[in-house]
């Protein structure tokens, strides 16, 4: 079994997943350490995004998905029948590949999560909006335009707004599905910087196509190939002396 040091935040055991007849994950075992960034890399269709979506059960929304094995977050098996998916998703936030702000104001985007959690008090909402926008490193850019449509922001700003929106429900875990793949290098750098700052308070799992990004932004890296987790370890070690030949070939750009 592949492990990382310390008390894990997320423990995945023998996780397999099928879309209909097609197997997308093959007995994945992975432990994610709290307050660190774990990057998942691998060629397209290797299962890394599918794995990410098992962690907040977004795969539930797809028809004909079958899952075996277990995912334990904070000592609770999230596939247990007693688990409320809605509660789970409040604890495990997600940032999508394509920034997807609601067609509402910047303020309303961030306040969306707190509001569905029943927070109505205006001053409390103001406070949450400001503090999360600050934590997402976008406050200074938008503080005078909170009433403006989120759709008027640039791509990079939209993605940071989406991160703020996810932070506003106070999750412990942040899942990021190629959050910078549609952004220019400057916006990407800002997102990476943000990820680095956020990890002191959050456990972050990030799927990325960009190997430099994995090398720069993560503490641990897992390499997926054909639905299997081939290897996981400290990022530094993975990028300098991987144990498996497949990992080395992928990292050095010989395939994928």
């Amino acid at each position: 079994m592949t492990t990382t040091n310390g008390v894990p935040k997320i423990i995945t055991r023998n996780l397999s997943l099928w879309y209909g007849q097609k197997q997308a994950l093959r007995s994945v075992n992975l432990e994610v350490r709290p307050n660190h960034v774990t990057a998942l890399i691998g060629p397209s269709g290797c299962g890394k995004s599918t794995y990410l979506r098992t962690l907040n059960r977004m795969n539930d929304l797809i028809d004909n998905v079958r899952i075996e094995g277990s995912v334990v977050i904070d000592d609770v098996d999230i596939y247990d029948r007693a688990v409320d998916v809605v509660e789970l998703r409040k604890r495990v936030g997600m940032i999508f590949q394509k920034s997807n702000p609601f067609p509402k104001s910047i303020y309303e985007n961030v306040a969306y999560g707190p509001k569905i959690n029943g927070i109505r008090d205006k001053s409390r909402l103001d406070e949450i909006v400001e503090s999360t926008l600050r934590r997402a490193a976008i406050w200074d850019e938008v503080k005078d335009d909170l009433k403006k449509s989120a759709l008027a922001l640039s791509g990079g700003q939209q993605q940071r707004l989406c991160i703020a929106r996810a932070l506003a429900v106070d999750p412990g875990v942040l899942l990021m599905d190629e959050p910078a793949s549609a952004l220019d290098p400057i916006a990407t750098a800002k997102i990476e910087e943000l990820i680095y700052e956020l990890k002191s308070n959050y456990t972050i799992v990030i799927v990325t196509h960009n190997m430099q990004q994995a090398a720069r932004a993560s503490d641990y890296t897992g390499f997926f190939y054909m639905g299997e987790l081939v290897e996981v370890g400290e990022t530094k070690k993975m990028f300098t002396s991987p144990e498996k030949k497949q990992t080395e070939e992928y990292i050095t750009g010989r395939f994928g």
Binding site: N56, V86, P103
Partner: protein, 300 residues
């Protein structure tokens, strides 16, 4: 080659002629209505009731009746149609038997002739529901609901226009990006919260369009209200939903077929038709205006 070229020209000529023909027909119809009605139409005509055995006077009660009919119809049909569309597109799985049955029913409903709706309204709303209500309320001593009235006519009309609402709302719901639903669910919103706060607000334009299309469809139909509530002549305006009402389309129909003096009412017929057309246009324009405001709000 020559043969092909000639054929091409003939096709172009034929399509152009038929296109022009349609424009010509529209212009002809509009011109006939305007010319025939222009001497009769006046403020007086719009704001007064018919008089002299319906050969003089105006159409005020019919305008009010049509407006009430359309309003009650929308109040019943738009919510039901919207909820149905939401169920079909958000809740029912694509392969579910119930969803397929509903879709089949909606398509069938869309193909049923209007007069059949009229008969259904008479049989179901007036005689079954209405008489049942009278029995339950007064033991049948008073005939109040078991006769044609504006409520039953509006509900019948709502049924007729339901497919229009369902189809256009469903189209609008489909245009709400999947990304937004995913974002909402990933924040820990329930399905219902996502529908209520994301799907419906972003489909408002479509719901409004559905309402408009239903209104313009409903305003042009006479058959469904024939037996369910429309009256030949009423001395006063409806004051309750259990009252009968006068309606523009029905007024045109009776003026041209049932009048004691068809020739004397010719001007009234044309003018009434003109009013019905203008009313429909007005409704459509105000709806388009509303839609553009909804869109503008979404962007800024």
């Amino acid at each position: 080659m020559m043969h092909g070229k000639l054929l091409g020209r003939i096709v172009v000529a034929l399509t152009a002629v038929s296109a022009l023909l349609i424009v010509a027909v529209v212009i002809f119809v509009m011109a006939t209505i305007v010319i025939g009605g222009k001497d009769t139409i006046s403020w007086e005509f719009l704001t007064s009731a018919p008089s002299e055995g319906m050969t003089e006077g105006g159409i005020f009660p019919a305008i009010i009746g049509t407006a009430l009919l359309v309003i009650i119809m929308s109040m019943a049909g738009v919510p039901i149609g919207t909820v149905t569309a939401l169920y079909l597109s958000e809740y029912a799985s694509r392969k579910s038997r119930i969803a397929r049955a509903i879709r089949f029913a909606v398509n069938t409903l869309a193909g049923v002739p209007a007069i059949v709706f009229g008969l259904f309204g008479l049989g179901f709303f007036v005689q079954f529901v209405g008489t049942g209500m009278d029995q339950a309320l007064t033991g049948g001593a008073e005939l109040r609901w078991g006769q044609p009235n504006i409520l039953w006519a509006s509900l019948t009309m709502a049924l007729l226009t339901l497919p229009v609402v369902i189809v256009s709302v469903e189209e609008a719901i489909k245009t709400v990006p999947q990304d937004l639903r995913a974002a909402s669910l990933a924040l820990g919103a329930t399905k219902w919260q996502t529908v209520w706060k994301i799907v419906i607000p972003n489909s408002l334009t479509g719901i409004l369009t559905g309402g408009i299309l239903a209104v313009s469809r409903g305003a042009g139909e006479v058959a469904p209200i024939l037996f369910t509530g429309a009256a030949y002549f009423l001395p006063h305006l409806p004051s309750a939903v259990s009252d009968q009402f006068m309606e523009l389309g029905y007024h045109i129909y009776i003026m041209s077929t049932q009048s004691t003096n068809v020739d004397a009412t010719r001007g009234i017929q044309f003018a009434t038709t003109l009013v019905l057309l203008l009313l429909t246009f007005l409704l459509n324009f105000s709806a388009i205006f509303l839609r553009s405001r909804v869109r503008a709000r979404q962007i800024t």
